[in-house]
């Protein structure tokens, strides 16, 4: 007997590095050596460069564009404007939200930084020189930057191109600056609950405009091969297949003649889901010039012109009994979508999954209504490290529960405990229509509170407040408790599509004769570690070591069709497809093994990496042996080869959840907030790679810190954008980032093949609430109910000032 065969099942499972293994990321060898291949690393023979002329105004009419001086710059090849794109009908492009967006400004500019002209030149320097010399004459118009004024009678009409359209992609429009109204739940029941409630708490919760700010900005290289008519675009795309289909539909280039490649991507966080004018302009320029065209935006362009996130103004009312049983919830959202509706939500959900806003609580009646409006701001509204509008929803309910706790004079953790959905209620159907798959919320909350010794924290806070009263300290401690339920894994094709493209995903596996494999998926990693984790799923399914499985994504010519990576959908959808494709492989392997061992299939049992004859562990065929036979041995009735493909349409979303506790010390004189402690318990169902989960949680919490404590894309009344550079836009470094304590419970998803739920976005969803709850809690005893984010030094100081703490 070989040495390998002598190994126990446990030893062989360990060697596979499958589910549950803290396997090191296979991607990191190239990234840590500077050998990644990002879009800007792509250099093609004859490649030229494009750069944008952008609007300095928030709202203005374009009186004229003079290209002559720019065209005279040595090296400048062409200058494109809307007039040049009109004959191709490409001056507008469809957005993912059913609106259209100007590729190059058509007669009007609607936000500062909007694309006005595209200069193509032999090198970046000549292109930038050309940009400076394009003369655009503007007539300034009054800017609209306060969403609360968008639907005023005398508000300036922003979108003249659709001003007379009374019907939008999501129903009736009642004002030229109105995009849609969307509602969910039972209005009458919710109103009744509020009217008859013993206690009602009310608050306006504003989630400020922020930006995903991936370290790599957006860009592409477009190359039209005039010989075979094939257009190839390498780009920063989170959904390459969707880009291919949309590109085909708007250019009429047959889909087989378009190849979209997402190479290594340096973070996406939702920013790279949409389609930007740069992609269209680079493609058009390549078609016109017959040369590859590269467009890479700089940091300021990324922050001020590509997709923002949030900008939700949420007015809430929450009803409860005096002993803290929540009986009803209402929410009205004013959603600022900027100048074009370029949200990236499933088509039937113009406010994403905002109706997850009953959160983790058993709330019998609820109603939400969302009004989307136009303003003179950059378009977007993407899901920044969250599923569609889920951090907004989670932030809303978690603040409302804290506000209610103040009103009831009840501990916020205790109020949560009384309202969390009980374990035996799953699958649980919420008042706003979602079916939560599984959860054990009380266990998670209890574990979290015990881990941080919550009673001791509150006792310490009380002692600190007394010392503050006595004048012995100028620091106040705040304790933020947050519970969250994500809704991820979009999604079931019956109700989830983007522009008609169903949101399934896919995996295609080929086993090589010597027992290694390649798996291709319809998703694309931007740092999530797919090459590591999908190989682990497969290793456990087919018994081939993860180290011998290549995972490949991002090239539409080779990968199976899929809807890409965002909204924590890769593990719930493509991960499920991977497991299902693996099971097809194993089923065929079993037939082959039966032939080789001369027994009936039913007489075989799977043992980690092999089939063995039941009751006879000496008679086995390993997957490596089976793979070789599959290709090289004539087996009656079985086709040669060992391949499988699975397209997985999930039966439901998955619902990861968690309990977070944050402790802050606020210096009331400077507004400086020190995060003393942050504890995060995540339940993402089956855990594929604990180390990657921990890394994801660290990253998501750091982005949550950034959002809660500083990030803001603000506009002044004339439409000037603030926060458009990293000087002002808060991107925390290691210095500003506290230590994270991570923990977990495991409640598998009942409908996912391996029980996994996804985790990448949970920490952002739960983290923002925990930070904000903590800062608000620091002042709660002094009468503060709610202060808006970001909780930067200035705003925190102002809160202290309003409360009279500065003498």
């Amino acid at each position: 007997m070989s040495e390998q065969a002598a190994a126990t099942t446990e030893e062989r499972i360990e060697k596979l590095q499958g589910l549950g293994c803290a396997r090191k990321r296979v991607e990191d060898a190239r990234f840590t050596q500077g050998k990644g291949n990002y879009v800007d690393d792509i250099k093609l023979p004859g490649m030229v460069f494009g750069d944008f002329v952008r609007s300095p105004y928030g709202h203005a009419r374009i009186e004229g564009i003079d290209k002559d001086a720019a065209l005279a710059v040595p090296g400048v090849l062409a200058v494109l404007t809307a007039e040049d794109l009109k004959p191709l009908n490409l001056h507008y492009m469809p957005t993912l939200a059913g609106d259209v967006q100007a590729v190059l400004a058509d007669e009007k500019v609607l936000f500062q930084g909007q694309e006005v002209a595209f200069v193509i030149a032999e090198d970046r320097y000549a292109a930038a020189d050309g940009v400076e010399l394009v003369e655009v004459e503007y007539e300034a118009l009054p800017a609209l930057t306060d969403a609360n004024r968008s639907m005023d009678e005398d508000a300036p009409v922003l979108r003249e191109d659709i001003a007379d359209k009374t019907e939008g992609a999501h129903g009736a429009r009642r004002h030229p600056n109105h995009i849609f109204t969307w509602e969910a739940g039972d209005r009458a029941a919710a109103e009744q609950a509020l009217a008859s409630a013993e206690v009602v708490a009310e608050e306006l919760v504003v989630y400020q405009r922020v930006h995903p700010c991936p370290l790599e900005t957006c860009g592409c290289v477009a190359s039209m091969d005039k010989v075979n008519g094939k257009l190839t675009i390498w780009g920063t795309f989170q959904a390459p297949h969707a880009v291919r289909t949309v590109a085909s539909l708007i250019t009429n280039i047959p889909e087989h003649n378009i190849r979209i490649v997402s190479p290594d991507i340096g973070g996406g966080f939702g920013n790279k889901v949409g389609v930007y004018p740069g992609y269209i302009c680079a493609a058009v320029a390549s078609i016109v010039l017959g040369r590859p065209v590269k467009w890479i935006e700089d940091r300021m362009e990324n922050l001020s012109a590509t997709a923002f996130a949030r900008d939700y103004h949420m007015s809430g009312k929450i009803a409860a009994t005096r002993d803290g049983r929540i009986t009803g919830l209402r929410c009205h959202v004013l959603a600022d979508h900027g100048a074009f509706d370029a949200c990236a939500d499933p088509s039937k959900f113009p406010a994403g999954f905002f109706n997850i806003c009953t959160g983790s609580y058993d709330i019998p009646s609820a109603h939400v209504e969302v009004d989307g409006v136009y303003t003179n701001k950059a378009p977007g509204g993407v899901a920044y490290r969250c599923s569609f509008r889920v951090t907004e929803a989670s932030y809303f309910i978690e603040r409302m529960v804290d506000v209610l706790a103040r009103k009831l004079d009840m501990d916020p953790a205790e109020l949560r405990r009384r309202n969390l959905i009980a374990k035996d209620r799953f699958p649980y159907t919420s008042a706003l229509g979602w079916e939560y798959d599984s959860g054990d919320y009380h266990a998670a909350l209890d574990k979290a509170l015990a881990a941080v010794d919550y009673p001791a924290l509150r006792a310490g806070q009380k002692a600190g407040r007394e010392a503050f009263e006595r004048g012995e300290t100028r620091t106040l401690t705040g304790i933020g408790v947050a519970f969250f339920t994500e809704i991820v894994g979009a999604g079931p094709v019956k109700n989830c599509d983007i522009l008609g493209l169903g949101m399934f995903d896919s995996c295609e596996i080929r086993i090589h004769p010597t027992g290694s494999a390649i798996a291709r998926l319809g998703t694309i990693s931007q740092g999530q570690g797919h090459a590591t984790t999908f190989a682990q799923i497969l290793a456990s399914e087919i018994g081939i070591p993860a180290d011998r499985i290549t995972v490949e994504e991002g090239d539409t010519d080779t990968a199976p069709y899929g809807l890409g990576t965002y909204g924590s959908r890769s593990t719930p959808v493509a991960g499920a497809a991977t497991a299902m494709a693996g099971r097809k492989i194993r089923a065929k392997a079993q037939m082959i093994a039966a032939y080789l061992l001369e027994v009936h299939e039913d007489d075989l049992e799977w043992d980690a990496d092999r089939f063995q004859v039941k009751g006879n562990p000496e008679r086995v065929k390993t997957m490596a042996e089976i793979a070789f036979a599959a290709y090289n041995q004539a087996i009656p009735g079985i086709e040669p080869g060992l391949e499988a493909v699975s397209y997985y349409d999930p039966p439901n979303m998955t619902y990861p959840f968690g309990a977070y506790v944050c402790v802050v010390d606020v210096d009331v004189d400077t507004g400086v907030t020190d995060v003393r402690r942050f504890y995060a318990l995540d339940d993402c169902g089956t855990r594929i790679n604990p180390m990657i989960i921990e890394g994801q949680v660290h990253g998501g919490l750091t982005e949550a810190l950034a959002i809660a404590m500083g990030q803001e894309i603000a506009y002044d009344e004339t439409g000037n954008v603030y926060g458009g550079s990293l000087l002002d836009f808060f991107l925390p470094t290691a210095v500003e980032t506290p230590t994270w304590e991570t923990d977990f419970t495991t409640t598998p998803s009942p409908h996912h093949p391996i029980g996994a739920k996804g985790v990448g976005e949970s920490p952002n969803v739960g983290g923002v609430s925990a930070f904000s709850n903590a800062v608000n809690d620091a002042f709660a005893h002094l009468g503060l109910t709610h202060a808006q984010m970001p909780h930067d030094h200035w705003r925190v100081w102002e809160t202290a000032e309003r409360l009279g703490l500065h003498g």
């Binding site: 750069d51 970046r124 320097y125 292109a127 930038a128 020189d129 400076e132 700089d298 940091r299 300021m300 004189d669 400077t670 507004g671 400086v672 500083g710 603030y722 926060g723 000087l727 002002d728 808060f730 991107l731 925390p732 470094t733 210095v735 500003e736 930067d792 030094h793 200035w794 100081w797 102002e798 000032e801 500065h806």
Partner: protein, 287 residues
């Protein structure tokens, strides 16, 4: 983020640099570490036709501490200041302030002269130089002259340096042994300019504060010497009443703008808090 075209020069000696500046007039700009100028060029807010890089001029580097006099060559990097034992012994506030400039990578290239010379009100070293009453050596085609740091700053990016002059060295008398000092800076994150910052240098003898100088960073269009604030402490026991008076005096001259760091009102009020903390820390470190 692409600069306009320019010619790059790297003279080997000071005379060569001065000659290039004389030759190209206001078309030429001097670059030291480049951390202020290069971003301005990338934004095309600065478009020099000629860039004169001082990094090859060895005579502009190095720190000398002779007797009580400290001389710092303009091209000495902030990292070199932090690592300079004799300088840190004689004048620890320079190390403390330099450590609060940006991050280690930037301090490896950023220079003392560049930070002091260009008149960016956000730079940290000018306030320290005001507190130290340093003197700047300027050299140009017309020869060499010295200007007091307290006379040098005129407004945002406006200084007493003439076109064609190069700041070559900074010289000051080290504060007395046993002095106390602090550079207190509040910022939003690593790499940021101060929301408010204050340099305090003071000396004590017996129970009396014999000397106090206080200066402020990024609280006006130029670094501010808070002379009245210093006077409120000097010659007193520096008790609570005097400290409060000093803070009030410093706060009274602050004229910050409202920006991403906060409203002018917040930054003004913060001035008093930061000055107090700097004074208290300086008193605690004084012998």
């Amino acid at each position: 983020m692409i600069p306009a075209a320019f010619d790059y020069h790297r003279p080997a000696d000071l005379a060569g640099a001065v000659r290039l500046l004389a030759e190209h007039g206001d078309e030429a700009l001097v670059v030291a570490g480049g951390h202020s100028l290069i971003p301005m060029m990338k934004l095309r807010m600065a478009q020099p036709g000629h860039l004169v890089d001082l990094r090859a001029i060895e005579s502009l580097r190095g720190v000398r501490v002779e007797g009580g006099t400290v001389t710092i060559g303009a091209m000495t990097t902030q990292a070199e200041v932090i690592a300079s034992g004799p300088l840190v012994d004689a004048c620890p506030i320079l190390r403390e302030a330099a450590l609060q400039i940006a991050d280690p990578q930037i301090r490896n290239l950023g220079t003392v002269g560049g930070n002091a010379a260009n008149g960016d009100p956000g730079n940290d070293l000018p306030a320290v130089m005001l507190a130290l009453d340093a003197r700047y050596t300027l050299e140009g085609a017309g020869g060499r002259r010295e200007v007091a740091a307290r006379e040098y700053y005129e407004g945002a990016f406006a200084t007493a340096r003439e076109d064609g002059e190069i700041l070559t060295a900074i010289r000051f008398e080290a504060p007395p042994a046993g002095h106390g000092c602090a550079y207190e800076k509040q910022k939003r994150k690593v790499g940021d300019y101060a929301t408010a910052a204050a340099a305090v240098i003071l000396a004590r003898s017996g129970g009396t504060c014999t000397h106090a100088s206080i200066a402020l960073t990024n609280l006006a269009d130029r670094p501010l010497l808070a002379a009245e604030a210093g006077a409120a402490l000097a010659g007193t026991a520096a008790g609570e009443a005097e400290i409060a008076a000093a803070c009030a005096a410093a706060q009274a001259i602050a004229e910050p703008v409202s920006d991403g760091r906060g409203s002018a009102a917040f930054r003004t009020r913060l001035t008093g808090v930061i000055v107090r903390r700097a004074i208290e820390r300086a008193l605690a470190t004084a012998a």
